[in-house]
Symmetry: C2
Subunit: 200 residues, 2 copies
């Protein structure tokens, strides 16, 4: 295997573009080479196979879609209340919207994982880690609500991101005067998260 | 166009199988003919093109995944409380789990719609109709919560179905002792839906 880290990263990002645009069956080494503008045969020198490319795409998307540490640090200076949960959820929605291609590639990867047990195992692990981290963060920050709150928030935001990125017009107009997606993020948070932490 | 309604229905169902199993790029007339066990060239006599096949698949899945009127009628004899909302959501989850192939095909269709504006327009219309119907049903039945409750419930159930059908192991073990998906349906309902209707 060749190891030029920059070229490897460019090939992984090209894979993300191809997967989002063409779907899983369109993700071939040849299509990745073309997308990256490199000679045909290059990708096959960097990845042992398609599974390996998909695993590296998963890891890369994890980075691309991760929160900006500076944004998190700035938010964490605020009171640990429901409004702060709202700010974190808006940031999550913003990241998914800004890197729509990356998020659509993750959705394609979910469907591809229904066909490939190996990919499902590694992708399950990374999603589980995200959810466990979210619960731990919420607890340690002293934000209102418990682990159950975080799970329901996670599922409702997953539904909102799926709907907004694939079928944006379903939600617009559903609730008169509600802007999509911002007001729906607020609605989810105010419905799911208790106003205050219960007394210990 | 040939019009043998039974054969047409069999071809549409074969299309659903192929789409769920192979992804959007695998959905060709030839693959549909093979799946349906009919001579190559048959599908092209029934559909003007791939868009037309996808539209008929959408309509068909709408039927396949719709609630059973007898189940709805039986549920509607119960008190119009939060527990009844829970029973409806369990029924929704059951339908998606029983016809996993059909639901996975719908998820593929969402992603395909990001590439095909025509498909997006017709699919948006059918999803919008479902959501509007859900809100109207909730209002007319006098179930607890308003339109906002229904929207958050819709999004959280969408997230749960997506996660459970594609990455079932992410949620198992997330909350100790919680069975997936049943206890998560209960958690969503008890978090999102108010216990009682507010006084008018």
């Amino acid at each position: 295997m060749v190891s030029n880290p920059e070229r490897r990263a460019a090939l992984v990002d090209a894979g993300v573009e191809v997967l989002a645009r063409e779907g899983a069956r369109g993700l071939t080494f040849r299509a990745v080479d073309t997308e990256a503008g490199v000679p045909v045969g290059t990708a096959s020198n960097y990845f042992t196979g398609r599974e390996e490319l998909l695993r590296q795409m998963d890891a890369r998307l994890h980075q691309r879609l991760a929160p900006d540490p500076d944004v998190v640090a700035a938010l964490m200076t605020r009171p640990k209340d429901r409004a702060l949960v709202g700010a974190f959820m808006r940031d999550l929605m913003d990241r998914a919207t800004r890197d729509r291609t990356g998020y659509l590639a993750l959705l394609e990867m979910r469907l591809e994982a229904t066909r490939r047990p190996e990919l499902r195992a590694s992708y399950t692990e990374s999603l589980r880690g995200d959810l466990a981290e979210g619960m731990q963060f919420h607890r340690e920050a002293g934000l209102p609500g418990g682990d159950g709150t975080v799970v329901v928030l996670y599922l409702a935001m997953l539904g909102l991101i799926l709907e907004h990125l694939t079928m944006p017009d379903v939600l617009s107009g559903a609730l008169p005067g509600a802007d999509v997606p911002d007001d729906l993020v607020e609605l989810i948070v105010s419905t799911v998260v208790p106003q205050e932490r219960p007394e210990p």
